[in-house]
Symmetry: C2
Subunit: 280 residues, 2 copies
């Protein structure tokens, strides 16, 4: 099939804010949704990308296929996504998280639209360290986003909808793929020319000392952020690099467990990461 | 939020074929997907609406909240959809069925797009007969489709996508609703000015004698179809009426358990229902 996509007729305006909200326990989905609704009422356009990790873990345990973690040769931990895990991940991502955000955004008076199939990606060669040896996992459905149909996203935004995207892509061969939500959001922010990417998580931002919330880094250059990032923050730093190397001016990593989390992040609460000299 | 929707710039052409495929066991999803891909390659535009009943039953049993059936005062059976059942239904519909059709349609070389939030509906007053008395079920999340954002659907079709829709709507208050997929497909066919609505199910069509596949009715007027319909076929006859009372010229009820099921239905295999004189 080769549907001709017409060239854009204008430079779309205003560019949207792209918000990634994590899927860990403790995220206040209702607060995220009502805050996004306020921003939309003020004239902002938003794209929401969400995670699904905690819901996947709960569902996987209920269905007798408990979550497993793999460790890459570089020490990065990630979810082992065999075919059954992918299916459970899809149920949690689309069936629980997308469903819930669409309900909450509608309740808050907006026009949400959950979408699957929009993001096309590529399967990763997933390597894991097992018993001290590095093995290639041939049946792993983890991937990265490679194509975003910008033309359609603009039409959806122009018609007044809030796109709600699960951390799922589709390979050209029709395989669903578990993608990193932070990096998917960065790719979307880059493709749409967003000025700001907000990444909401279950900690207040980048911490100098992981155990101490008071060690929050208020602002950082990309290089500082990369040097400080540990554990799950490493992927957020990678996402920040991918966004900032495009036209995105700033990335804010902030708490998703507070009231008005997006507005607070936009006001600079959390860790503001800029290309060179940080804003604060 | 009041995003202005611009008026359509042209009469969209060609009108799509709307295909509803049931969610019962035995439906050959891969055959439906590859047949739809062939039709798209021949220049047709299609909208797919799917069911989720068998997947919901399996998941509900696995999660310890088994499916229950209610009987309406008029004798119609339907799924009892309390809040937990709605959540399970969403996992099965979006997370299993939409996910699977999007994968299969991509594999077949098309551009599928799973959508949730597009259909806005209203909660039904669900009445059930329990112990001989009729009771109103206040916590039932069953509804009917009332609004279809035609403008956006045309844009999605114009960009070359196949919309894939689960049998879920959203109330204005942000409640997910379990809607009848046949009637949702009829409403979509009516709204888009489709010429044909194809309803694929696990039987060959409308049967004079439910136990005898050889008693297939090849063609029927709406009134004949309504008189013959029993059990689950009653809702398909209602869907046929809703489609035919709009601009839809014919409704074909046919088997989803055969190769090339959509092409066969379009060629007249199954039961062809027309407004007055039937086509065969």
């Amino acid at each position: 099939m080769s549907a001709p996509v017409p060239p854009p007729l204008r430079i779309p305006y205003p560019p949207p804010i792209v918000v990634k909200v994590g899927g860990s326990a403790g995220i206040d989905r209702a607060a995220v949704a009502s805050d996004l609704a306020s921003l939309v009422q003020e004239g902002e356009r938003v794209v929401l990308v969400h995670g699904a990790s905690a819901e996947t873990d709960v569902l996987a345990a209920s269905l007798g296929h408990p979550a497993r973690t793999i460790v890459s040769p570089s020490g990065q931990q990630s979810r082992r996504t065999d075919r059954r895990t992918l299916e459970i991940f899809a149920m949690a991502a689309l069936g629980v998280e997308t469903f819930s955000y669409v309900e909450l955004l509608k309740r808050a008076g907006t026009q949400p639209l959950g979408l699957f199939g929009l993001l096309v990606g590529r399967r990763k060669d997933v390597r894991a360290v097992q018993d001290g040896r590095t093995v290639l996992l041939r049946d792993d459905y983890t991937g990265r986003v490679e194509e975003i149909p910008v033309s359609l996203v603009w039409k959806i935004l122009d018609d007044g909808w809030i796109p709600v995207l699960p951390p799922l892509a589709l390979s050209p061969h029709g395989e669903g793929l578990n993608v990193d939500g932070d990096r998917a959001a960065a790719a979307i922010a880059a493709a749409l020319g967003a000025k700001t990417l907000v990444i909401l998580t279950n900690v207040p931002g980048l911490l100098r000392s992981v155990e101490d919330p008071a060690s929050l880094v208020a602002s950082a250059t990309l290089e500082e952020a990369e040097a400080l990032a540990q554990g799950r923050m490493k992927k957020k730093a990678m996402a920040a690099r991918e966004a900032l190397e495009a036209e995105v001016s700033r990335v804010v990593i902030a708490s998703g467990r507070v009231g008005r989390p997006v507005s607070r992040a936009l006001a600079g609460e959390g860790t503001v990461i800029g290309k060179a000299v940080a804003a604060r």
